[in-house]
């Protein structure tokens, strides 16, 4: 198992350039439950990787550990070689990891524009006193960050919605807004937790194109959790499959599709034997 490569073939990680995300033997225990055990994964710079598995496999727990919401029981998480586990969520975000949530977590009562502008808070470029007095850098910086927020909204086709209240947006647009907001935090690694959940085939098709586009445009490394096989198989270069907190398979879309363990995990023993 350890001899098997944990990253896609053809992608080389050299000494000088550590992988964007490097997870070693990550374990999370809640009381008597091992939610995740010995999870190991590497995502090279610029990769678009997928994490799949049946409900309760521990995928979101992995995300919550990467983003600092949970502190892992043991194991290491490195972002470009730098240890991040144990830090507060806001510090991890500032180091370059942004995420979306499985059940959308927008700032419901704020405008679409403000949802995105909040993510710029850490690099607003002015202090509290400048804001209160409206002097110094405030005017210029505020205008600049508003324009940057509008530009990001335009990438997601939300430029005409900027003054709408977030909760009034249709579902698909709320999902897109959440990704837009995560991008505004200027991440190097973007974590998407079921971005296509609840989308119809046309919408998820558009979403797939969008994910590819933002990877190029914003120079991102992307790791996504997804239930819709069409989406995962369609865009991910390399897929890791989890079940009961453990990695049961890794490989390209084709390898995963024909992996017996994966079929058993998803469809049960009988289905696995038939194939």
């Amino acid at each position: 198992m350890e001899a098997q490569s944990v990253i896609a073939p053809g992608v080389s990680t050299t000494e000088s350039q550590p992988p964007t995300l490097d997870i070693r033997e990550l374990t999370m225990v809640f009381g008597g439950l091992r939610a995740v055990s010995d999870f190991t994964m590497e995502v090279p710079r610029g990769g678009l990787y997928g994490l799949i598995g049946p409900n309760g496999a521990g995928k979101t727990t992995v995300f919550n550990m990467i983003t600092g919401i949970y502190v892992p029981t043991s194991g290491e998480i490195r972002l470009e070689g730098q240890e991040i586990s144990g830090r507060a969520p806001f510090q991890i975000t500032r180091m370059g990891i942004a995420r979306t949530f499985q059940n959308i977590r927008l700032f419901q009562n704020l405008t679409v524009l403000d949802n995105v502008r909040i993510a710029f808070h850490t690099h607003s470029g002015y202090g509290l006193m400048e804001a209160i007095s409206r002097l110094g850098r405030f005017g210029r910086q505020e205008r600049a960050l508003t324009e940057r927020a509008q530009d990001i909204l335009a990438v997601f086709g939300l430029q005409d919605r900027q003054l709408e209240i977030a909760r009034n947006l249709p579902y698909g647009e709320q999902r897109r807004l959440e990704i837009a907001r995560a991008l505004a935090a200027e991440p190097r690694l973007l974590l998407l937790d079921e971005p296509a959940a609840g989308m119809n085939p046309t919408e998820s098709e558009t979403l797939m194109g969008l994910i590819r586009f933002i990877r190029e445009e914003f120079n991102l490394t992307i790791l996504l959790i997804e239930h819709q096989m069409r989406v995962v198989m369609g865009i991910c270069e390399w897929i890791t499959v989890m079940d009961f907190g453990q990695v049961i398979a890794r490989g390209t879309a084709d390898e995963i599709r024909n992996n017996e363990d994966v079929i058993v995990a998803y469809l049960g023993r009988a289905a696995g034997r038939e194939l």
């Binding site: 806001f90 975000t93 995420r99 949530f101 430029q159 194109g209 590819r212 586009f213």
Partner: protein, 443 residues
């Protein structure tokens, strides 16, 4: 949303000037009695305090029941300063104020030093280097002793700095008060009293908030209620420490310096400050904590820091309001600051709309007018029925408008400004995405 041709600050400024001049002229021409003149001022003072609570609860989402404690701190602090100037209770006209300023700066110095030294990390480093020569538990004990010594040194340094500062300040201010004519030094002392009332309340709220803000919302509410009870009890026994505060008998002979121009000026200034703060990156981050703490953290917002900021600024507003209140009637009694009274600003902000400055100001005025208006309307001997009738009014309004008068919306200049109009460049990725999708479908 439509852009109007008139900038939003013009109607807002017009209303503000009309209000200011209206009350002033009505008073000068005896259209309103001294009693109603005071009611209007009480309304504005309540608005200042309620704005502070709205920042904490309405905008930042932290349910606090301790606001009245900060109001009390502001009131008594400022009264000590001004009563010193008029009555010399401490022996000199400006001894109290110079002690207060020096003491607060001393505490700030202590906080900054403790923060800079990073005591936790320091202890770990000392333990690590001692562990080479000693057993582990010995190293731990010794490092704890060293850190405690460092803390003691920091405290001594801060006290010494405060002492030295006081010596300089006391001389300087005493000679200033002698040199300046009374009508110049009096407003300076009043401003210092208001500011010190605000900053001491802010400092206390920062210190109280450090441990308490880690608690979840409801637990935080109960803990802050405990703080308010502590302040109340301390005030009842205050004469044991400072004789002139008179404890449960009530502090008297505070100069009557609060007038409508003072109250209005402070209210206007503090509204501008809060509006500018909320309509900035910091304000949006404060509001995002209310909306969704986890999402907010995930956007890189330091939630703890912003909760502390909102709680400290909110405490400052309460302290300033308390200072103005102290000089309106010239009499302070602990019962004014009991916990039942402490619900007033909470009622006002819920009634006006959590997260609306406009609503808070409107509700404060209505609250004062209803309470005092009923006193006039009800027949003799039935005045206490006010506290039956006004809750009924409150109930009815909350049933009809559960989000409060204004909800989270604002009026005029207080509204969030619209983003400047511009043509937003739309990147064309639709063709690219179509092309990219095709091969995957074949697979």
């Amino acid at each position: 949303m439509k852009r109007s041709a008139v900038p939003s600050w013009i109607p807002t400024l017009a209303v503000a000037i009309a209000l200011y001049l209206g009350v002033l002229l009505a008073k000068q021409n005896d259209i309103i009695s001294v009693y109603w003149y005071q009611v209007v001022q009480i309304a504005a003072i309540t608005a200042i305090s309620a704005l502070g609570l709205n920042l904490i609860y309405g905008f930042n989402g932290q349910f606090s029941l301790g606001h009245v404690g900060f109001y009390a701190i502001g009131a008594y602090t400022s009264a000590l300063i001004t009563k010193d100037y008029t009555m010399k209770w401490s022996g000199g006209q400006t001894t109290a104020v110079s002690w207060l300023i020096a003491g607060q700066l001393g505490v700030v110095l202590l906080l900054v030093l403790a923060n800079r030294l990073k005591l936790g990390a320091l202890r770990k480093r000392i333990t690590a280097s001692l562990a080479r020569h000693l057993a582990h538990h010995e190293a731990r004990t010794l490092s704890a002793v060293v850190v405690l010594l460092v803390i003691a040194i920091v405290i001594v340094v801060s006290i010494a700095a405060a002492w030295a500062l006081h010596a300089v300040l006391a001389k300087l201010m005493a000679s200033l008060v002698v040199a300046l004519p009374g009508d110049v030094s009096q407003p300076i002392i009043f401003v210092l009293a208001i500011l010190n009332g605000g900053t001491l309340a802010a400092l206390v709220s920062y210190l109280v908030g450090l441990p308490l803000l880690r608690l979840g919302s409801d637990y935080f509410g109960i803990a802050t209620l405990g703080f308010a009870v502590m302040v109340y009890t301390a005030l009842q026994n205050s004469d044991l420490v400072i004789e002139t505060m008179k404890g449960a008998r009530g502090m008297v002979a505070i100069p009557l310096w609060t007038t409508w121009p003072w109250v209005f000026g402070v209210l206007a200034l503090l509204i501008i400050v809060m509006r500018n703060m909320l309509r900035s990156s910091h304000g949006r981050a404060i509001i995002s904590v209310r909306e969704d703490e986890i999402a907010s953290q995930s956007m890189g917002v330091d939630v703890t820091q912003l909760k502390n900021l909102a709680f400290t600024v909110g405490g400052f507003y309460a302290g300033v309001a308390g200072a103005l209140y102290a000089h309106l009637y010239g009499f302070l009694h602990p019962s004014t600051f009991n916990t039942i009274k402490g619900f007033d600003p909470l009622i006002i902000i819920v009634f006006g709309g959590l997260g609306s400055m406009t609503g808070t100001v409107m509700a404060s005025v209505m609250f004062a007018l209803v309470i005092e208006g009923l006193r006039v309307l009800l027949p003799q001997g039935f005045e206490d029925w006010r506290f039956v009738i006004y809750p009924i009014i409150l109930l009815l309004i909350m049933l009809l408008r559960p989000a409060g008068l204004m909800g989270t919306s604002e009026w005029g200049w207080l509204k969030a400004p619209l983003p400047p109009e511009r043509d937003i460049p739309v990147p064309n990725h639709s063709t690219q995405s179509q092309a990219a999708v095709t091969p995957s479908e074949e697979a």
